[in-house]
Symmetry: C3
Subunit: 465 residues, 3 copies
């Protein structure tokens, strides 16, 4: 067997080494410890005599670190295992997720630094918040990955990562800093952006002959259970995700609670609708693995606001219903009519729920009053609190932010999709989609362990020849 | 194939939508943010001028949130995966666990609110502690689920959840608020209650012809490894479980440590006895998956007290021994003589260890003195510290609480068991137990991924026809 | 089938009960709650009147507990699942890991207590830090376990644990307390020690006829995915591991960040080199599961120091490269020439990266100046800050510590290897390596769940007869 166009032997090392090399050089030039991480600056802050007293330390790191780790688990375990549902793409799901997230968190720190936080010394000062924000940015790439899962090479995915994180950082800067929109859990900047970017890329990369690999697009019994590891971790830690960068105190507390109740209500909706739309009344693992999470997306903007637990549950229940119906009825139409082959159904889990989240956030923001928020208004809506704008102007800015985000996602997706389509990145043939065999060494023998290292597996007609 | 009595197509959506609808209406009427979650109240607490200073915020949320997430993982991953050991019930184990826990945490917040914390404004004010308490309550339902695993429909399980959480809240109110018993980790209120409730339900739902499904009651190699994910997560986070609602400071610290050492000693006992009772000296996965955890149950009442690490280890070691012996010798007797078909052996993991925990707690409480506890006595035994009762009276109240709990569990289990037995909930036939096929769409093909979407799986004689 | 020499029916219970019994007696005699865990002492510290005010409590426990749980997950899930890659040794991997870690954390608390922290009352006062340190010590045993995985009985592993934790405690005492070396994340004391101890034991236990079991030494598809659970958890929580016992504030913050960036860069190197050294350009799961973690090991000493994110990335990238090359080219040589049968490749993941970490730490320590560290110098290098020694002397002591550690590992490994070789511990025959069948009850039936409890599995030629 000779090396062929999809061989990663040269392409992957070259791309990895160039990307990591450029990243390291940029880190050397631009990235510095922030003042809480640098020993000299930190101890100067602590007092002239440098006396170190645990009681006086700023607790920001300690309050955010557990949330950071929860987000970290969502990005690497949550997304990685959610995508292992495919019967023969488990290595690629968790493995490419691992690769692109590892690169994404580095590149995002640079891009977000350039657009948000270059300080007077022209340096990017990294700390716990920049780590969390880089994970968020990477999350949007992993959402897009779900749309093209099984149909792209790792090099294509790295190419997507470098461009998507960059566009994410620009869009986030416009939405949050210029337009002053609130989007702590990223209904717009993470989910809507990641989903519509990924769907657009999937459209550009449309494969008319994908039917040659469709028999591998399903799950097997144990791969569905692996995927549930991803689902449940995403579900459990979503309150940490939405609250990871909100202000300490009531904001963070409220964001956790709203997200929690939205997800709980969403789960009941997903089970109800999944049974309802199946002609035998059987539950569909695709719905359970995905639509149960839509409630977390749909409060990504509003969870920080006073939406009340009841409001969160209503939003969660409606979104769980729409998401499940989307998997059942809309995805086949996107595939057959719009030529969008959305492997993981990101339109149903992130796309529509993200838009719902943006609209809900806009409406709730429009009705914010000092009567409800009291002195807390300045934490949630600083520009309303300091009378720079009215609540309804805030609401309008939220909706404009959604439009801007969709614009970046669609235009960016087209551009990056065409870059990914250049036939030099080792994209798999139409007969080689949804299989690990072309990019991974696959162990011999069956899952009962009876095979030997010497035996050759002959029974897979899709084995590369 | 036409819809038959076990079809969930109408029943599950109707029950889910009614339950969630009622829950949402009750939340709208009764549930409000607590003062740490409401922006206006919180900032009024912070000071008239509403100045926000991180240094001044109450740390309660930040100290409890990591423990809350650990408990959350135990409830959704721990219980869910522990039960995936069955060879063909992995979807039901993790999926129904997900469903009933999602509903349970909502309904429990209402029920616990009604019985414990209706405030002067007749509202339930929810915050981080109510979320933790709701997860605890849900834990007892999941314990009962283990007793009827594979033999109940999701609708039956939801029916069980709504009644069991309600009874839990009443019993908890009597034990904790009326009798003044200490039970931070829930040896009585969670484990004893959940186990004997579940065993009673299992007795009422006794199936004389269960042998028709017994060939599916075992595990396969990989399902046992999935189950170990559940075991190890439960084991690791049990110190967080027992300490999640104890008072900050030495109480919480001590509870963590006692639980930790009890579990470590328990694990060695489980391995020792598992090998000893096997005629080939082989370890049995059922014991390792379950009996290793009994040490956490057995210090659920006493871990907060001054039992010393040595005392915790003794309790753990003895309980690990009894639990393993229970799996080997007692469970078959319960099954054949008492007609209790306890799928997961909850009597061995939660029942007996829960009673041991209650007795140990009672004994240690009886000997509490100001000499040992110092000023900390008021945190652990407030009614003893303020001389409302003596230590031995506290001990007696602990034992009375065990009796009350057993009473609620047994009487409640009979009542709810008969409700669950009403033949309208879609319970599986005796030939259809321990299989996902009747409630779930099962992917085609074997676990090596060779099957195609077109093929029909013919080799399972238990497939519904 | 009669009991034979490998039967654990008597040996395992006897050893477990003796070890746990001795441990409990020593705990009863020597172990006491520390002052933050004992109610009387704690409340005396809080104030004469024992008034309990959350604002005043020492936050040490609360800041360390989330890190403790992350380390706990690494030890029990991380190591346990990382080793499940073997096709038929999943029970042993996660199960023996569970057993020896449960014993290790208890014995380590005693041994580290005897060597480090016997206080004036001749008692060992345990608290959150002693729990973390015991987990670290246990980590080194689990590294060694990786070297002998599949070729040892559980009794042999317990024997190894008792001696290795003891030697670890002595070496740690010399390195940290006598030589004053810094090694917060344990590049030397945990990784180098555990790896070379384990490799030496593996050498002593060399099996010339291991080829009789080699056909079982590989993975199957799903076992590789289980192993990725271990990998990703180790990877995600490594920042918590390296920072778990560093000083609060900038030290802990900086350690987290350096470890994070080192791992991210290491991951890209592992993917790049894995594809490069495969003649078809395919990624090898062995590399992805292991070499991606080498970056965490390699900054175990230096992450606390001011190595800058860029410095951490350089170290991570180089170590990821060396580790992957080690798996590809060095391990086969160790096996064939040096007769070291290193099942998990611990030399590549812990051995070489540990030495790199020690050297990097020594170099960075040598250049420590008050100009860079400011008043923080006393936290990182107290003996330099108080002018007891110069920075270059600190660097020399770091390198001496590496030498001492290697000495303890090699000499200790030889001694303990020969103890483990005594033919009374039930070691498996050469034909019985890498299989769970001799120590575990294996469920009947294949992984599709079609087998029945009555059927006898006839198709495994390795089944014990």
């Amino acid at each position: 067997m000779t090396a062929h166009a999809t061989s990663m032997r040269v392409k992957l090392p070259v791309v990895c080494i160039i990307l990591e090399g450029v990243t390291m050089v940029l880190f050397a030039i631009f990235v510095r410890y922030d003042k809480e991480t640098d020993p000299k600056e930190w101890h100067m802050l602590l007092g002239k005599n440098g006396s170190h007293d645990d009681k006086n330390i700023d607790n920001d790191f300690y309050f955010r670190y557990p949330s950071f780790q929860d987000v970290h688990v969502m990005i690497f375990i949550g997304f990685g295992f959610l995508m292992t549902f495919l019967k023969r793409y488990g290595f690629g799901s968790v493995g490419f997720n691992f690769l692109i997230a590892s690169f994404g968190i580095q590149w995002a720190a640079l891009m977000q630094g350039f657009f948000h936080s270059l300080e007077e010394d022209n340096k990017i000062h990294v700390g716990i918040e920049s780590m969390i924000n880089a994970e968020f940015c990477t999350g949007s790439v992993l959402i897009s990955f779900g749309g093209v899962l099984g149909k792209t090479s790792p090099v294509q995915l790295l190419v997507m990562t470098i461009f998507e994180t960059t566009l994410f950082a620009i869009n986030e800067y416009i939405v949050v800093s210029v337009l002053g929109a609130k989007d702590a859990g990223g209904s717009m900047t993470i989910h809507t952006f990641g989903a519509y970017f990924g769907l657009t890329v999937a459209r550009v990369l449309y494969r008319p002959d994908l039917h040659k690999s469709r028999h591998r697009e399903g799950s097997v019994y144990h791969s569905d259970i692996f995927a549930m590891i991803g689902t449940v971790y995403l579900w459990m830690f979503w309150p940490s995700f939405n609250s990871a960068v909100t202000i300490h105190g009531d904001d963070q507390h409220r964001t956790v609670m709203n997200t929690y109740y939205s997800l709980a209500a969403c789960t009941l909706a997903a089970y109800a609708i999944s049974a309802l739309v199946n002609h035998e009344g059987k539950l569909d693992m695709v719905h359970i693995q995905n639509a149960t999470l839509a409630g977390g997306v749909a409060v990504g903007t509003a969870a920080e606001m006073v939406m009340t637990p009841f409001g969160a549950m209503i939003v969660g229940f409606i979104t769980g219903t729409i998401s499940t119906l989307g998997f059942k009825y809309l995805s086949p139409i996107l595939d057959s009519k719009l030529k969008i082959q959305d492997t993981c159904g990101i339109h149903n889990l992130h796309g529509m729920p993200g838009i719902i989240g943006a609209v809900v956030g806009s409406i709730i923001a429009s009705f914010a009053t000092r009567d409800v928020y009291g002195a807390g208004l300045k934490d949630v809506f600083p520009r309303v609190a300091n009378e720079e704008r009215t609540a309804s102007t805030q609401g309008i800015n939220q909706i404009i932010s959604l439009g801007v985000t969709l614009g970046f996602a669609l235009v960016g997706g087209v551009l990056v999709g065409f870059i990914m389509k250049i036939p030099i990145w080792g994209s798999p043939a139409d007969t080689q989609c949804f299989t690990d065999e072309i990019y991974w060494e696959i162990p011999e023998g069956d899952d009962d362990g009876h095979g030997t290292m010497m035996s050759v597996k002959q029974d897979d007609p899709d084995k590369i020849i």
